[in-house]
Symmetry: D2
Subunit: 377 residues, 4 copies
C-alpha cells in the first residue's frame, strides 16, 4: 500500500500544534510529509520544512504558493492540514477545498457562522473531505463511551457535564505576554476567548458522546484579569435536541488545573466519566451497581474503541496517538472507507454557532438563545 | 472539667443523621447524652433514647414534652440538636432559643427567608447560640483553606467552583420510594429539591472558604425524572461581594458519583482544591509553581486546622470527626470561648435566601437576582 | 443500657495514641472514662485525667496504684487499655488479667515470645479478654475483604502482598531526636525497629484477611541511616499454612510516603486491594473481569462490614472510627457476645514470634525460619 | 535531512510488540520502513511487509535472507530491530552486528550470560550500536528522575523499591493457552518466567534512575499455578554498588493489576515515585516538605526530560512515544550524537546475569549471590 501524500500549512518551529500533527500523520506510516508552508516568514518556513524532510520544491513560502505549486502536480498532496492562526482558517480551507484537496482544519474552523456555513457548502460541492481537528474524540475510550451511549447501555441520556479548565493564563504578570494576550483581544481572537479556544472542544465532546446536538444555551462569561476584553472563564448551560440537560465550565485561570478536560454523561441506567489527563480509562457505573473501570484495549470493547487501541492493555496511549487516530480515519476516508466518528465541517460550523450564541447570551445576562447554525435549524 | 449536657430531637433509629450527631457529640467526651425526643412515634422515641443511655425521665415523646421537661430542671441540657424533618426546624429552634437553650439546627435552618430572619433575631435576643450544621466546614483541611485565603496566600479570589453531585436518586424505578419522593414534592420539601438539600452545603462552603458572601445569582434547574415537581439537577452561577465569580453544580442523578462534593478556589497567586471523599488532603498550586499536597496534621498548618487535626498525619479522619469538630467548637462557645468558624443563624438565613433566589431565577429563565436576605442587604 | 467503665494506662497529654483511644472508647457512648494513670509523671497524669473528666479518686499516679485502687471497687472498670511504652506492656497486661480485668493492649503485646505465651495462658486462666490493638483490622472494608476471602469470592488465596512504608524517620538530621532515636536503639526498642513497629500491623492484616497464619519467613533488614542499630527498612517473604505466598515491605525512610499501609490479596478467581489512606473503598477484580470499587456502606456488603459502616455511603470514616470499632466489639464481647474479628493475645504472640524470626533470618542472610510461637507449632 | 532506513525482524501481524516498534520508528519521520522479515512463516511475512509499504524486494522470508539481501545494498538499512522469539535474539543480533548493522534488540537480549558477553564484545568490535529496548527508560519523567538523582536533588540514594506486577496470567483456565504457557516452560522461556519477562525491566529502571549497578541479590520465586515449571511471582532483594538497598516484586498473577510497573527512589534528602500507568507525572517529596507533582513538559525540567516532552504540558504521552524516544536517540546516535540514556548491550548482559543469579538464589532458599556478569566484576 503506497503512502498518501500530506502537506501542512502552519505548525512552524516552536509551535505547539505542529509536532502533534506531524506525530499524528506519520506514526502509522500512512502518510508521507510531502509539502509544507510552515511559517508566516517564508524563508524560515521553507528551511524548516526541508529540515523535516520535505523536498526543496515543495517547501513553500506561504499557502498561496503551496496551492499553486500543488494544484497541478500529478503527485499532488492527498491531504492538507491547516494549522495557521484562527482568522486565516476560513480562507485557506475554502481555497484548498475549491481546488479539490482534502482538508484537515484546526479548530475553530472559521470565525463566523456564515463562513462556517460556506465551508460546509464548499465541501459538499467539492466532494472532498473537510475534517476539523476535534482530536479528543479519537481517544479509544471516548469512542467506547459514544458506542455505549448508542447501544443504549446507559439508557436515555439525561445529563451531560463537561469541563475544560486550565490555569495557564492565570498569571496577571504574564497577561501581556503576546502568546497569551492575543487570546483575549477581539482584534485577534474574535468574539470569544476561552470558550472559543477550549470550550468548543468540550461542547463537541458532549455532542459526540451523546450522539445529539446542542439546541439552546445560556452563558455566563467573566474576565477575571484586568484588561481582558474577552472572557477567561465561562459557564454554559445548554439543552440538546433529545432533551438532555448540559453543563459546561471552561476556564484559563484555574491555577493548578493543567488540562482539566473531562466529561460525565448520566443516563437512565448508568453513568460514564472520562478525563483527558488519564485518557485510557473510562469509568462506568450501572444504576444501583458498582463503579467499574473500563480499560483501553480490554476484550469486549465496542469495535471502534478496539480498533483504535494500538498497544497492549494498560500501556498508556496519549494525545499524539489520538491525533494519529484522526489521521488513520482520514486515510481510510480518503481511500473511500467512511469513518463515522470523523469530525467534519458540520461540527465546525456548529461550534461557531455555539460560540456566537454564548457571546450573545452572556451579553444579555444569560438569556437563552438558539445555538444552532441557521442551516441546521 | 464536667461534661456538658446534650439533648437531641429527631435522629431516631434507622435515621442517617442520628448516628453522625451521636458520634460527633460523644467522641470527645465533652457532652453527655442527657435528653432526647428521637422519634415522631413517642413510644419508639422514648424506648430508643433509653436504649442509648438516656434516663427514663428525660426520654421524651416529642419536642414539646422535652421543652417542658427540660426548661425547669436545674441540670437542664446545655445544647439541643434539632434533627427533625426540615419543615419543623423553625418552630422547634425558635421555641428552644426562646426558652434559653443553645441550639444546633440541621440544615436547612428554615423553609423561608422570613423564618430565617426571625431565627437570627430570636437568637440575638436570647443571647444563646444558634448554630447550623454545615459540618463540612469543620474538616481541618477546609479550615486550612479558609485560613490560607484569609492570609492572602492565593491573593484576591477570582473564582470559586463547587460541585455537590451524587447519583442516589437516579433510579427512576426507585423514585416512588417515600425516602426519595418527598425530596421532590413541594408539599414536603418546599420550593427546591436538590439545591436546597445539597447545593446549600456547597454555597456555604464557597462563602466559608472565600470569607465572602453571595450577592447575586442565576440558576438553571432541571427535573430529569418524570413526575418530579422539584429539580434534581441545578446549576447556579453567582457573584460574591468582593467580585468573586462563582459556579455551583449540584445533582442527585449523577449515577456513579457517591458524594461528589468538592470545591476549587482560584486566586491571583494560587489555586486550592478540596474534595469531601478525600478530606484529609488540600491541593495547592502557587501560580507558576508545582502542585503540592497539604496533609491534615502536617507541621506548619494554620492554627484552626492544626487544632482540629486529631490523630497523626495520614491517619484519615472522616465525616464523624468533622461533626465532632462542630461539637467541640460548640462546647468551647458554650463555655465562652468564641469560635470563628462555627456556622450560625446568619449562615442559615443566607442559605434560605439563596434557595429562594435560585428558584426565582430558574423560573425566570436564569434571570440574575439578589441572593441576600433582606436583613443583610 | 448502662455504660461500661473504662480506664487507660498511658496515653498522656501530647501522646499520639491517647486521643485515638479516647475518641474510640467514647464515640459510641458505650464506655465512660472512669479511671486513668496517664503519665509516667504521677502528678501530671492525675491532673490530666481529671481534666478529661475522671473523678479525683480514680485519677491515679501509676498503674500499680490504679490496679490497687480498682481491684476492690464494686464499680471497678470493665476494661483497661494499656498504652504505655512497649517494654511495660507485658507486666501491666499480665497483672490486670490476673486481677480479673479485661485488657486492650497496644501492640506489640510483649517484647519476647515467652512473655507472649505467658499472656495467652494468663488470659485463658483468667477467663478475661485480652485484646491487642490491631485496629486497622476493624475498618469496615477490611472486614469486607476478610469476609469475601472466607466466602470463597476470590478462590484459594495464592499470594498476599502488603506494605507499610512511611518516611517520617527519613531525616538524618532528626535521627537524634529522642522521639525517633529510641525506635532504633535495642535498649529501648528490643530486637527490631521498623518491622516490630509497623511491619507487624501488615503481617497481622495478611493473616486477618487471608484467615490463615504465617508459618515460615525470610527477612532482609537494612539500617539506612548511620548510627541506627536496628533496621529502618525491611523486606519479609513468608509462607502461610495453606500455602499462600507472602511479601511484606516496611520502611520508615520512604520519604514522601505518609502512611503507606496497603494490602493486595490475589486468589484463584479474583484480586483485592485496600489502602489505609483511602480506607473506605475496597478494590476488587474478578479474574477476566473489570475492576470494581466496593464502597463502605453500599448495599449487599457482608454482615460485619455492614455493621461497622456507621454513616452514609461515601461519607468517609477514618482511623478514629476504626479504633471505635475495636471498642464496640470489646463492649459486645464484655457483654458476652463473641466477636470473631477481635484481635487477641494469640495474635499478639504470633507477632512477637514473627519479629524474632525475622531478626534471626535477617542476621543469617535471609535463611528461612519458623515464624510460629512454640505453643502454636 | 534524509530519513534513515529501518528494518524489522519479527513483529508480524497480530504481535503485540510490532505495532509499538512501527509507531516508535515512524512517528518522528526519522526512519523509513525499508525492509522486513516479519513472520516465521515466510510468505505471510513477505505479504505483511508489503502491505505495510516495504518494497517487494526487501520484504524477506526470514532473517538470513534479509541479512544477505541487505548486506550488499548501497542503500542498506541503517538500523534493524530484532523482535523475534527470545531464544533467537542472540544469533540474529550477533549476525547483524558482525555484518556492520546497528541493532535494536528486544529484551531479553540473550538467554545466557555468556551469550550476552559475546554480544557486548561483538558490538565493541563492530563499532556499531547495539541497543536493547528498555523503552520505559525513555519516558520523559523517567529521564527527569535520573537527572534529579544525578544532580543530587534527593541526596545519596538509600533505597529503591520497584514493582512490575500484572494479573494477565492469573487465570488457571487460561494457563494452557499457548500464548501464556510458553512463558513458564523452560524449553521455551529458559531459566526464568516472570522475572526474566518483566522483572528485568524493573531492575534496569532501578539502575537507570539510580545511576548505579546491582551487585548482589537474594530471590524468592513462586509458581502459584499448578503445572508451571517456572516462577510466576518473584521477590528480589538486592544491593547496588554504592550501597543502595533494593526491593523488587514482580508477578503475573496479581489479578486486577493491569501494568503495575512503578518505582520509588528514596535518598537522604528526598523521595521520588513514578508509575508507568500514569507516566506523565513524577511525584517528588523533599525531606520535611510537601509532596509535589512534577509534570512532563513543565518549565525547568532537566534537559533530557524537556527534550523528550513532545506536546504541551498535561497532554498525555504514552508508551508508543516512549518507544519513539528510543528511536529518536538511536537516530541521533547513528548520526554521531551520543545519547547518554540509550540502553545498550551492557544493560542487556547485566539483565541476564541478574536473571541467572536470581534463579540460583531462589533455588538455594534465598542465598545472596553475585548478580554481575563476569566481565563486569
Amino acid at each position: 500500500m503506497t503512502k498518501l501524500k500530506w502537506g501542512m500549512i502552519g505548525g512552524g518551529e516552536g509551535s505547539q500544534i505542529g509536532p502533534a500533527h506531524r506525530l499524528g500523520a506519520l506514526a502509522d506510516g500512512l502518510f508521507e510529509f510531502s509539502a509544507g508552508a510552515l511559517d508566516h516568514r517564508p524563508d524560515e518556513g521553507r528551511e524548516y520544512a526541508q529540515r523535516l524532510g520535505v523536498a526543496t520544491d515543495r517547501a513553500y513560502g506561504d499557502w498561496k504558493e503551496m496551492l499553486e505549486g500543488e494544484r497541478n502536480r500529478p503527485d499532488r498532496i492527498d491531504l492538507v492540514t491547516v494549522a495557521t492562526p484562527n482568522s486565516t482558517h476560513f480562507e485557506i480551507t475554502r481555497a484548498f477545498l475549491e481546488a479539490g484537496f482534502n482538508v484537515l482544519c484546526e479548530k475553530p474552523m472559521t470565525m463566523t457562522v456564515e463562513e462556517g456555513e460556506q465551508i460546509v457548502r464548499t465541501a459538499e460541492a467539492s466532494g472532498k473531505l473537510c475534517a476539523v481537528n476535534y482530536c479528543y474524540s479519537a481517544y479509544p475510550m471516548v469512542r467506547q463511551a459514544r458506542a455505549m451511549v448508542r447501544a443504549g447501555e446507559i439508557g436515555k441520556v439525561r445529563l451531560v457535564v463537561t469541563n475544560f479548565s486550565h490555569g495557564h493564563h492565570g498569571d496577571a504578570a504574564d497577561a501581556e505576554n503576546p502568546r497569551v494576550r492575543w487570546r483575549y483581544d477581539p482584534a485577534m481572537a474574535g468574539v470569544s476567548g476561552q470558550f472559543a479556544d477550549c470550550g468548543i472542544h468540550a461542547l463537541h465532546m458532549a455532542s459526540f458522546i451523546c450522539n445529539d446536538e446542542v439546541e439552546t444555551l445560556s452563558a455566563d462569561f467573566a474576565s477575571t484579569i484586568a484588561g481582558r476584553a474577552l472572557e477567561d472563564d465561562a459557564m454554559v448551560n445548554f439543552r440538546m435536541a433529545r432533551g438532555t440537560v448540559g453543563r459546561l465550565w471552561t476556564s484559563s485561570v484555574a491555577i493548578g488545573r493543567q488540562h482539566g478536560f473531562d466529561i460525565q454523561v448520566f443516563g437512565e441506567t448508568g453513568g460514564l466519566r472520562w478525563a483527558s489527563e488519564h485518557p485510557n480509562q473510562l469509568i462506568y457505573t450501572p444504576v444501583g451497581g458498582r463503579t467499574q473501570i473500563i480499560e483501553k484495549g480490554e476484550s469486549g470493547l465496542h469495535d471502534d474503541a478496539q480498533r483504535l487501541s494500538r498497544v497492549a492493555i494498560a500501556h498508556p496511549e496519549g494525545f499524539p496517538l489520538a491525533v494519529a487516530n484522526i489521521y488513520c480515519d482520514l486515510a481510510d476516508a480518503i481511500r473511500g472507507q467512511s469513518r463515522d466518528g470523523l469530525p467534519g465541517a458540520a461540527d465546525g460550523v456548529r461550534s461557531m454557532a455555539a460560540v456566537h450564541a454564548a457571546v450573545e447570551s452572556a451579553s444579555n445576562r444569560g438569556a437563552w438563545v438558539d445555538a444552532r447554525p441557521p442551516m441546521f435549524r
